[in-house]
Symmetry: C2
Subunit: 331 residues, 2 copies
DNA sequence: CTGAAAGCGCTTACAG
DNA sequence: CTGAAAGCGCTTACAG
């Protein structure tokens, strides 16, 4: 059956202490010849380290718990890919746990499950955490770090895009192209701090340009395809038409796009669209969608290092405007 | 600091054995009043079970290792969602490990990492496993199960769609709509058993209908967007045009679609497309893509039960044709 | 460079 | 219903 260091000790004649040192590569604690014998026996016996024993005795592990918001997004993948790439480089193993926004019980269960092991740290992906669970996290001695979400509470370390800058960038780009009647669609403005920040950036750009914003231009939602469809329905009913819309996410943009087609509104001739996120979906649809593109992969990649270094800062990854075919210049 | 059962024993005056029994809910081994006292103390001390200790002593755990092929697919998410849903119901925790097709070393590392813990089982998602690693899996006493991939080797338990039936269904649907010049694009026909099965199903349907298949109609690839683009380039250069194409995946279909637009080929007026997979992408693009839709969520959901019941059968989840707007009837 | 021993936090026969 | 004790597989001062 599964060989243990005891078996290797028996096979080689050394003590389990020595075997342990060789296997853990404690340099200077064993001779080359000893190491050779031990490693040979280990290989022959098909030895595999028992992580449970290791974690019990050292009270630590290389496991990173990643708690993911199960709300469907099409960018979580890229973040996880970044995390997993960095984890592979650093030798960390990843446990994935799912939870939901504003569902305190499910969130607590995920956090508790993570804390039942001596995890090296907890990464929370787009998890809009309940206040009580913040306390739970803080009371544990396990480092934690939020990814792709920011909070008013500056004591919560996180990495995400600068959402205010994103809103500003999208609006500014359209203003530069001669648009002034610019809608903002599909952002969650009730529960999401992210949504409010993007709105603030949009308002700032509009204000700087001296462009008035009518409240009906701002059609909130939940970042979904349906939010885009709803927004287009609403915009289509307006007496004075918009010349451009900023979509709160790629899915919102596609909802807008397809619903516009339904109404015979040509993109970008009759209406320009700038999307926020910039995932591959922007290249799949026709016309391709110009976007403020977030660097999700990097967000994930960097987050792990930050977590492990106990870096408690709030930091931003870059976003930039990618021009595709969904914006026309107005003159 | 972190409370242990010892602390609870001290606080309540019971032995650690009794505390352990209460906490593990070993019915009949303790009185109600004892349980109440122990549970109260546990709550007060913020006790969290140490899984490392539990796994060490019981030599088992509720952890499921999910080894994922990092090759980008847009359906892995749905499978994982199914797995995670079932895991939540069954009380299992999920560890995620990434690997690559036909990269024996990376695959072995993932498997080894999984086996370092007393995992309850290993699920392998679309992992085209190297022969040596099959031996490694089999020599472990840990159950394993493949998801969304089948092998010639019938000793490897798996759940996936019936790929021969998928190829047949797609071709048959087009034949029913009057098409006979039907291409097959983007399947991996060199390394993928899945690709070969779909090809076989396609050939069978064509043969039954008495439709000849020219070899240039079959344009292999790697299931990617680019494979679709390449295939369309090739089809466009043919002297006699196809009236329909079966795409090896949704991404292939979108590649075909966008490249067709580039050539001024109207879908479905000039060319019909049936996609294989049927993910949400089919609804996002215009025209929407008719597809043979696989039930990825269910595949994931079911796989976990199969794994845990040591059910070594090879089984299929249903696929069905979803009509959208990319197929025209020929008369 | 090596070994004997204690201990990580838990479970579970065994005895009462 | 409860407790004392052994043990899961490993690491690490301590002593040599």
């Amino acid at each position: 059956m599964d060989a243990t260091i005891k078996d290797i000790a028996q096979a080689t004649g050394f003590s389990i202490a020595t075997v342990s040192r060789v296997l853990a590569n404690k340099e200077g604690f064993f001779s080359k010849s000893t190491a050779a014998k031990v490693n040979k026996a280990a290989k022959e016996l098909g030895y595999q380290k028992n992580m449970a024993a290791l974690e019990l005795v050292t009270r630590r592990s290389d496991v990173i718990a990643v708690i993911i918001n199960s709300t469907k997004t099409n960018f979580a993948d890229a973040i996880i890919e970044g995390i997993q790439q960095r984890a592979a480089e650093l030798g960390n193993t990843i446990i994935i746990l799912y939870t939901r926004d504003r569902d305190e019980a499910v969130q607590r269960k995920a956090i508790t499950t993570a804390l039942e092991r001596p995890v090296a740290g907890i990464l929370l992906l787009s998890v809009d955490i309940a206040p009580d669970n913040v306390a739970l996290l803080k009371s544990s001695n396990t480092p934690f770090y939020f990814v792709s979400i920011a909070f008013r509470d500056a004591s919560l370390p996180c990495i995400c895009s600068d959402d205010r800058a994103i809103g500003y960038m999208a609006a500014h780009y359209l203003l530069e192209h001669g648009h002034t009647r610019i809608g903002l669609a599909g952002l969650d403005l009730n529960n999401s701090y992210t949504g409010l920040l993007r709105l603030a950036g949009y308002r700032k750009a509009m204000e700087e340009a001296g462009a008035e914003v009518a409240e009906e231009w701002i059609h909130s939602g939940d970042f979904s395809y349906e939010s885009g469809v709803d927004a287009m329905d609403s915009y289509h009913g307006m007496s004075e038409r918009l010349s451009a819309v900023i979509a709160g996410s790629d899915l919102v943009a596609i909802g807008l796009l397809n619903r516009a087609r339904h109404y015979g509104v040509d993109i970008p001739q009759n209406l320009s669209i700038v999307s926020i996120d910039g995932t591959s979906l922007c290249d799949y649809v026709q016309p391709t969608l110009s976007s403020v593109t977030q660097d999700f992969y990097r967000m994930g990649y960097i987050s792990l290092g930050r977590l492990l270094e106990h870096d408690d800062e709030i930091s931003f990854t870059d976003s930039h405007l990618v021009e595709r075919d969904s914006v026309a210049t107005l003159d």
